[in-house]
Symmetry: C2
Subunit: 112 residues, 2 copies
């Protein structure tokens, strides 16, 4: 199980949350929907941003969403709002929020 | 014109690029569409990502897209791919790319 640095890091990542299991917490989109109420003021209840300096996050992949929330939480990505908001989130919170926003279907129409 | 810090910062921001004019370079979405060919391998020709660690960028606001590209270019945001790709982009390239991706229409459907 400890073959190399990657496995070691993965183990460290889950050490606090599970004895055995995936390095990535499974997200519950229904739980995420409830937790996302705090996100709606900027990102919209449907994941479509309410202000031009904020991204739409509807339909983004859960992998990308988790990565960004963890980057804000850990300080690798900085933003006046998100750095504060992400700080207290647990891995489960992040997985749930990611699952919720990823569950919103997006269709795109490219200009002629 | 120099009422307060905000006006001063806005003036500083344009000092290098224009004597008088908008603080934000005007983007040309048609030019951006052509320049975006290099982005399509990861972000898709229609701005829908082709891999799970990459964001969909179709329909994001031009303000947000410009801000992120400039953050990658300047090093405030880091990513193995984007930090390299954004480095040689001019302000005009960034404005054009932002205008192009912002011009793609997005509709969302929230789960029941």
């Amino acid at each position: 199980m400890l073959k190399g640095i990657k496995a070691g890091l993965a183990l460290l990542a889950v050490a606090g949350t599970a004895v055995s299991g995936a390095a990535w917490a499974a997200g519950d989109s229904a739980a995420g929907r409830a937790k996302a109420r705090q996100c709606a003021a900027c990102h919209g209840a449907n994941g479509v941003a309410k202000m031009p300096n904020v991204p739409n996050i509807a339909g983004e992949s859960p992998i990308y969403l988790e990565k960004q929330l963890k980057a804000f939480r850990g300080g690798e990505r900085a933003d006046p709002q998100m750095s504060v908001i992400a700080k207290p989130l647990s891995d489960q919170d992040i997985a749930d929020l990611a699952a919720w926003y990823a569950s919103i279907k997006v269709t795109v129409t490219v200009p002629e």
